[in-house]
């Protein structure tokens, strides 16, 4: 069972890399999106500093969502998904592996790029460690909740926009507590409770996400 799990994880990571460097494109989008804000709201340092946590989080949500619609669709179209259901590993565990691969391919590079982008937005430097920790704890929820949307739209050819509509409302709790953790660090209020709730959301979605996505995929295969 663990053999097929890790084989699939490795396959998806290699696919992400060889099929046009998913990670590079996602990070490029992240940087572009954030660079637009100083143009939009003006170069006032205090204004940028105040909105920086929110901008970074929103940019993270949108960037992580970019490649979501292809999470299962590519495998559905070429028949790989049928082969995946015949594995001795339960389909929900396989979906879990695909979510982990998605997180490593998209969220992780974004978190690595965050320190540089936070300087651009004048995020107070004492809040940066909290920002990184909050993103590390909170971002798995993006992949695992996103998998449900990706599973539901797997058979729809242009499902990208629909995925956004399904998934973005479910990202709101992660956004609220991610930003409030960073605000806590800026204002010297304890950010622990926000981080704990972020962790709870991530753990919850790690359980529910693969199960719901599996049910959606089963329906699509019929």
């Amino acid at each position: 069972m663990s053999r097929s799990f890790f084989a699939l994880l490795k396959r998806d990571l290699q696919l992400g890399w060889r099929q046009g460097n998913t990670s590079v494109m996602v990070v490029a989008f992240f940087i572009m999106a954030i660079s637009l804000f100083p143009f939009g709201v003006g170069p006032e340092m205090t204004v940028l500093g105040r909105i920086s946590a929110g901008v970074l989080w929103v940019a993270l949500l949108f960037s992580a969502m970019l490649s979501l619609d292809r999470l299962f669709q590519a495998d559905f179209e070429d028949g790989s998904l049928e082969q995946l259901t015949l594995s001795p590993t339960p389909l929900s565990a396989i979906v879990f592996a695909k979510c982990v691969a998605h997180w490593i391919n998209t969220a992780l590079p974004l978190i690595i790029a965050t320190p540089i982008m936070s300087v651009l937005l004048n995020l107070p430097s004492n809040a940066l460690p909290t920002m990184i920790i909050a993103m590390l704890i909170g971002s798995p929820a993006l992949s695992f909740i996103g998998a449900v949307g990706a599973g539901l739209t797997v058979a729809i050819r242009r499902g990208g926009v629909l995925v956004s509509l399904l998934v973005l409302p479910l990202y709101i709790p992660s956004l609220i507590f991610g930003v409030s953790a960073v605000d806590g660090a800026i204002n010297n209020i304890a950010s622990g409770p926000s981080l704990l709730i972020l962790a709870a959301i991530s753990l919850f979605s790690m359980v529910i996400g693969p199960l719901a996505a599996t049910a959606a995929i089963r329906l699509a295969l019929e």
């Binding site: 396959r11 099929q19 028949g79 082969q83 995946l84 015949l86 594995s87 590993t89």
Partner: protein, 237 residues
């Protein structure tokens, strides 16, 4: 050829299977039984449900009525009857119209992944490549494979991870005469090893097999008396 272990004595059967697609009954009350070393060829005109039956047996579709299962050993009771049982899918290989290949991987990588996914290691990968005459292309990206070569690579999965029941949907599609013969020999070998094969095919295959014509299982009366279905009435009478 590969040194596959003979599969233990198994039998595979379906009872009164009925399949509906989009509200239309495709076939009804279909039963079959296979035991180790036997093959079943599915015949019938387009749309008679050959692919649906194979997809149903692979667990992708749910039967509207009826069930199917397998028995281990000659005497034991049925272990499972139904579909989508975890231990049941580990007996099955399904090769459909889609090749499930990724252009960015080489042939060897593809088979190694396929074997690992099915819980096997890669010791049979080279055998599988040679068995389908792909040895020279082992380290070439699938991107550069021709249609027929892709079909052969998809079929090589059958050898790379041994499983007793092969469900093949038009396996000779896109294959030239030599490759089709290669496949026929592999199927014979699989039957000799005690495996089972259910294949939908239009071509005559030179293997010892029972034939199941899906025309015989068309529903007696369709829910709408559309004249399009008249031909089925006279032929199954």
């Amino acid at each position: 050829m590969t040194e596959q272990q003979a599969f233990e004595h198994l039998s595979f059967y379906g009872d009164d299977l009925t399949c509906e697609r989009g509200g239309r009954v495709v076939f009804s009350d279909l039963s079959f039984a296979l035991s180790s070393g036997q093959a079943l060829l599915l015949r019938g005109p387009n749309g008679s449900g050959k692919s649906s039956l194979l997809r149903l047996l692979a667990g992708f579709l749910a039967p509207t009525r009826g069930g199917f299962g397998y028995k281990h050993g000659p005497d034991k009771e049925a272990i499972s009857l139904g579909y989508r049982l975890g231990d049941f899918t580990t007996l099955i290989h399904y090769v459909g119209h889609q090749t499930a290949l990724k252009p960015v991987f080489t042939a060897r990588e593809t088979l190694t992944q396929a074997a690992a996914l099915f819980g096997h290691d890669h010791q049979l990968v080279d055998d599988a490549l040679n068995a389908l005459n792909l040895g020279a292309l082992a380290d070439l990206s699938v991107r550069y494979f021709s249609e027929g070569q892709q079909r052969r690579l998809a079929l090589a999965r059958l050898i790379a991870s041994p499983r007793p029941i092969w469900l093949l949907d038009e396996p000779t599609n896109g294959l030239d005469a030599d490759s089709a013969e290669l496949l026929t020999n592999l199927m014979k070998q699989h039957l000799t090893n005690g495996g089972m094969i259910i294949a939908a095919t239009h071509l005559e295959m030179d293997i010892d097999a029972n034939t199941l014509n899906l025309k015989d299982f068309l529903p007696r009366q369709n829910f709408n008396s559309d004249t399009r279905f008249d031909w089925s009435m006279e032929e199954s009478a």
